[in-house]
Amino acid sequence: MDMKLRGKAWKFGDDMNTDLIIPGKYLELTDPEEMARHAMEGVDPGFSERVKPGDIVVGGRNFGCGSSREHAPLALKHVGVGAVVAESFARIFYRNAVNIGLPALECPDITDAVEEGDTIEIDLTGGVIRNTRTGSQLRFTPLPDFLVEVLNEGGLAAYLRKHMDEW
């Protein structure tokens, strides 16, 4: 995947749980494109129509808490979100996001450094997030090498297809 990202920031608060990201009634969907139509519906019903490809979701603490539903990162990825940057992540969401090739970046100061609508640039390999409006630069917690490889391949399924023998 492209290791340099650029997009408009959509800000959300603390404890954005998976029911807010995609409500339970959509768990019976199996097509990610259909899930995408309901991305963030629990907190912002018009989100999927307004978000543009490459836009960045910015969250507070404990982003993605709750359910193990992979529908949550899938809906975000397939609606076009380029990455999720949050102060911290719930464990299962974090794994799921990386596993499907959606960068989940932990950056404790992100909420204060970004306003809704700011354009931000992310250098995944360099570990830097830049707000183009303010010029401020933040570092995100580096991903373990293994997860960088997974992201590079576009997710765990593609990674394993290639590296099954080493697993």
Binding site: D19, T30, N62, R91, I92, G155, L160, M164
Partner: protein
């Protein structure tokens, strides 16, 4: 330096003598469980990884519980496709829509034994720590990797030890204990940690109460809840499995991230108020809040002990005219036991709706959907905005006793004060 029970299980599963918190290990899973709504994506991921067959059909369990029976066309298609996969893969441990909530079924059928490494494509898989297993929820792609290879990577978690002391007062339950603990630790206070429950109050609890504690470890970010196995664990399992197991316990000099002591001798019933699970208050602070629906059930509180206490309160009483009470036994076994004990009659006579075993109203996808402006008191595990239907509805979490008393009163009520 000794190891915690969680470290020991992950060490054994990764073929090591010793592992330490923070390390990343690749471990062999002993059991991979899927409910209906995440299974299709897991098998799809397995195929994308280049594998057509699960690594070990004996170690895979499927349970159709979230939308049981199917209430929409999409759910019916999901169920049909799962039945086809089960057939193709030759998976024996398949429980169809007449079985109950996956976590209860898994326990009752003796699938989980002490010392096992269990993964489930459902976040409440942490429930199985009640048997001294390391049990954690994963997403569908991780599950796909487990299905394809039998292996998964894990970061060895630090452990928070929660020592629960004292005798629980009358009508105060394990649910009140765990809500109190979550209120203290916070919704992300145990992120990436194992939460080990110990102390005389936990030793005094039966397996159902321990399942309630471990079930909600995820609500503070925990990777698993876990209780050291004892005679009660063995007694429960002896009735359900002939397979041998070895009890694993934490060493006396194991390292903990934190140790939290809670004395429950004077604990009041607790309520998790909307719309975060750590927004916990003693019932006295919210008593009188009107409610429209009460849900007694789920993997947290749909077991026989839960129905018994609810029936004690409902016997000879009527559900308040403004309230819908849904009672959903967690499994067919629980349903039959409650039927034999006359509890279902008590519920029906009180005016409750007794529904078939399933996840019920817990997650807003099947029955008991809430309209805008409505409030539900639920014995389940999440009160997130929109969890049980409209984002403008509210969900409060409580014990079965508090739920039953509140259903009678029509408002949140301390079960000890019900007239």
């Amino acid at each position: 330096m000794g190891m915690t029970i969680s470290e020991k299980i992950l060490a054994r599963a990764s073929g090591r003598m010793e592992v330490r918190a923070g390390e990343i290990v690749k471990a062999e899973v002993d059991l991979a469980m899927m409910p209906d709504l995440t299974a299709i994506l897991a098998f799809k991921a397995m195929r994308e990884m280049g594998r057509e067959q699960v690594w070990d059909r004996e170690k895979v369990v499927l349970v159709m519980d979230h939308v049981a029976p199917a209430s929409t066309l999409n759910a019916a298609i999901v169920h049909r496709d799962i039945r086809r996969i089960v057939e193709e893969q030759g998976i024996e441990h398949f429980y169809d829509v007449n079985s109950g909530v996956c976590h209860q079924v898994l326990a009752e059928k003796g699938h989980v034994k002490p010392g096992m490494l269990v993964v489930g494509a459902d976040s409440h898989t942490c429930t199985h720590g009640a048997f001294g297993a390391f049990a954690t929820g994963v997403g569908s792609t991780d599950m796909g990797a487990a299905l394809a290879t039998g292996k998964l990577w894990f970061k060895v978690p630090e452990t928070i030890r929660v020592v629960v002391e004292g005798a629980l007062p009358r009508l105060v339950a394990p649910k009140d204990v765990i809500l109190r603990v979550i209120g203290e630790i916070g919704a992300d206070g145990a992120t990436y940690n194992a939460v080990e429950f110990a102390g005389d109050a936990v030793e005094a609890m039966g397996i159902p109460g321990r399942m309630t504690l471990c079930n909600m470890a995820i609500e503070m970010g925990g990777k698993t809840g876990i209780v050291e196995p004892d005679e009660k664990t063995s007694a429960y399992l002896r009735k359900r499995t002939a397979a041998p197991f070895e009890a694993v316990r934490s060493d006396d000099d194991a390292r903990y991230k934190a140790v939290l002591h809670i004395d429950v001798s004077d604990l009041e019933p607790q309520i998790a108020c909307p719309d975060k699970v750590d927004n916990v208050k003693p019932v006295s602070e919210v008593a009188g809040t009107p409610i429209d629906q009460v849900f007694i059930g789920s993997c947290t509180n749909g077991r026989m002990e839960d129905l018994e206490v609810a029936a004690t309160i409902l016997k000879g009483r009527r559900v308040h005219p403004g309230v819908r009470l849904l009672v959903v036994p967690a499994s067919r076994e629980v349903y039959l036991e409650a039927l034999d004990a006359g509890l279902l009659r008590v519920f029906a006579e009180a005016g409750a709706l007794v529904c078939n075993p399933s996840c019920g109203a817990c997650f807003g996808g099947h029955i008991g959907i809430l309209a805008p402006g409505e409030a539900c008191l639920s014995t389940s595990n999440r009160n997130f905005k929109g969890r049980q239907g409209s984002p403008e509805a509210e969900v409060y979490l409580a014990s079965p006793a508090t739920a039953a008393a509140s259903a009678v009163a029509g408002a949140i009520t301390d079960p000890r004060e019900l007239r």
